[in-house]
């Protein structure tokens, strides 16, 4: 009797399990299909392609690791790699650093309307497309007729060749990136600040801690998880930077603002060196992966978890 019941139960259980599994696959089917077609297969063939020489029209030719060997002796690639790394480090530190201090500043303001106003103003550029931002700044930063230089000259500062000198073009790109993205990081830190329990501050005040002590002993340590998150997001994004350079300087003057993705785009869709471009993407991926993994690894030592 009990064996029969068990068998019945298990058969029921089985059919339910199967029905549930079928339903599960049904529900993930669109996402899974798209994942296979637009991610997994392309990723694998992207890696594979980096071992071939292929101009899109003739037969691909297997060349082993030659693309990679060539890459690391390609002066232009190394230059773009250097540009990208410098851009990533400067844009990340400015975005994350400024974002953190703006957030702490906004958070310590008592007037609600001012808080709301500031939060809104810093966030507006985040929703505007990078193309529009770049076109707008391209106009504002013109050397002789630009608005920015006009006001700078009124302040007694010499006209700055924002986009025409290679050092300044690079700096301009970084500054525009900060203008566009700092609000995003401000927001991440504002969310982190909201998570800090107010009892901690009250207890610190009772113990006689001043503003500076509260900032360095409570706020900043408890913001480290947000900081960690912001750094990872910022670096991943910065290494893939493309649009603002493409629109504003097209990599110039010379190759001063050419990034890895810009070179990749040109190699793939300008010169049809598909294999060579694929190997660049692989290098980019490895760099991003290594950076993220090492950040997570180092993060264990300085991120404060409650």
């Amino acid at each position: 009797m009990s064996a029969l019941r068990l068998r019945l139960a298990s058969r029921n259980w089985n059919s339910l399990v199967i029905r549930e599994a079928i339903a599960g696959y049904f529900f993930i089917l669109p996402t899974l299909l798209s994942f296979l077609v637009f991610f997994l297969i392309p990723t694998i063939s992207g890696f594979g392609m980096s071992f071939f020489e292929w101009d899109f029209f003739s037969e691909p030719e297997y060349v082993g690791a030659e693309n990679f060997v060539e890459l690391f002796s390609d002066k232009l690639f190394l230059r773009t790699l250097r540009n990208t790394a410098i851009f990533a480090v400067s844009a990340t530190s400015l975005n994350v650093g400024l974002g953190m201090f703006i957030a702490i500043g906004i958070n310590s303001i008592k007037w609600r309307w001012l808080k709301a106003f500031l939060r809104t103003s810093y966030f507006i550029p985040v929703v505007i497309s990078t193309v529009v931002v770049a076109l707008l700044f391209g106009f504002l930063l013109q050397e002789s007729t630009g608005v920015v230089n006009y006001y700078f000259s009124r302040l007694g500062i010499d006209r700055i060749p924002w986009l025409t000198s290679s050092t300044w073009a690079f700096r301009s790109i970084v500054l525009i990136d900060v203008w566009k993205h700092v609000g995003f990081f401000t927001l991440i830190f504002l969310a982190g600040l909201q998570g800090i329990p107010s009892e901690l501050y009250e207890a610190a005040v009772v113990d006689g801690a001043g503003r500076l002590v509260r900032l360095t002993r409570i706020t900043i340590p408890l913001l480290t998880p947000s900081l960690f998150f912001a750094l990872i997001i910022a670096l991943i994004g910065a290494f893939q930077v493309f649009e603002s350079m493409y629109v504003l300087t097209n990599g110039g003057p010379g190759d001063a603002t050419r990034t890895v993705v810009m070179l990749l785009y040109r190699e793939a869709f300008g010169s049809f060196n598909m294999g060579y471009a694929a190997s660049m993407a692989v290098v980019l991926f490895v760099i991003i992966l290594a950076l993220t993994v090492s950040q997570i690894w180092i993060g264990d030592r300085w991120v404060f978890y409650r």
Binding site: R19, A21, G24, F27, G105, S108, V127, L289
Partner: protein, 303 residues
């Protein structure tokens, strides 16, 4: 003890009251001081955020010869709409706009459906390989899209979607990020709701449609807004897959317009920029709270 004598045995009420008032005043002044001290540089920064947008509006009304007039006017001397007319004459701006609307609407609606479906399955259903698939999904968020770029280009061409709005929609019809967002949400729904529906004889499709979806308003709104924004601003994809003007979306259309115009006619470009900004800013004003919530909640998209 010497200090004991300095404490009055009976506190003077007037003294106490005035001390309290003084402390209150000091606190108030300190608040003002701190607000002013921190607020001033922050307001200056906020102005830097605003000014470029203000200038774009004022220059969009200007005439070509005015761009060399210094000081540049912050408030336009007159409201002239010539530049706006030129935008529509030079390129099919309305077409760009409609293309953007169509692509964004399709992508957003598709993602709402596919992400909620997959999110439901990962959160509430058991099936073999679930963990592995989910981990693969998550890992894919780490891989830059440029790795997949060339193979995807070939696949899209193979599908006959090259230079077709479909190329901007089909690859974006699902989202690992959105799936993750919805999964996180569906996991918080109490089992009792689902069990009750099961006892009433509901199948999985009904549970998804009648129990899960009606509850998922907030995360779906977050997903819709983030997707809308990133799809509206997508530039890299159209740059690669679209090559004729009548298929362009707004960001690519802007570059096309600049190419038509060169640098000589800044006013027209500024007018186009303003036309671009208006819908984005209206969208921002309406959904600001939700957008901020979404970005802080998830952090991932939007950047």
């Amino acid at each position: 003890m010497s200090f004991a004598s300095s404490i009055p045995s009976k506190p003077n009420p007037i003294l106490l009251w005035s001390a309290a008032l003084l402390a209150k005043l000091r606190d108030k002044w300190q608040t003002y001081l701190v607000n002013a001290l921190i607020g001033t540089p922050l307001i200056a920064g906020a102005l830097i955020m605003f000014l470029p947008l203000v200038w774009s509006v004022s220059f969009s009304f200007g005439q070509p010869h005015e761009f060399f007039k210094l000081p540049p006017p912050v408030i336009p001397s007159a409201i002239r709409l010539d530049n706006y007319e030129s935008v529509f004459q030079r390129v099919d701006f309305a077409r760009f706009f409609l293309n953007s609307v169509a692509v964004t609407a399709c992508v957003t609606i598709a993602q709402l459906i596919t992400c909620s479906m997959a999110g439901y399955a990962f959160a509430r259903l058991r099936f073999p390989g679930k963990r592995l698939i989910f981990i693969l999904f998550l890992a894919s968020m780490m891989v830059p899209q440029h790795v997949t770029l060339i193979p995807v280009f070939i696949i899209i061409r193979g599908m006959g979607l090259y230079n077709n709005l479909g190329a901007l929609i089909v690859p974006y019809a699902t989202s690992v990020f959105g799936t993750f967002l919805l999964k996180q949400f569906f996991e918080t729904i109490p089992n009792e709701l689902e069990d009750a529906a099961k006892i009433d004889g509901a199948g999985f499709l009904q549970i998804y449609r009648l129990v899960m979806l009606p509850l998922a308003g907030p995360p779906l709104a977050t997903l819709a807004i983030l997707t809308f924004n990133s799809s509206w601003n997508n530039f890299f994809w159209p740059l690669i897959f679209i090559n004729s003007a009548e298929k362009m979306t707004l960001p690519l259309g802007m570059i096309y317009l600049r190419g038509q115009d060169g640098v000589t006619n800044t006013g027209v470009l500024m007018a186009a920029i303003v036309l671009n900004l208006i819908p984005v800013l209206v969208f921002f004003m309406i959904f600001q709270r939700k957008l901020v919530e979404g970005v802080t909640l998830t952090g991932l998209k939007g950047a």
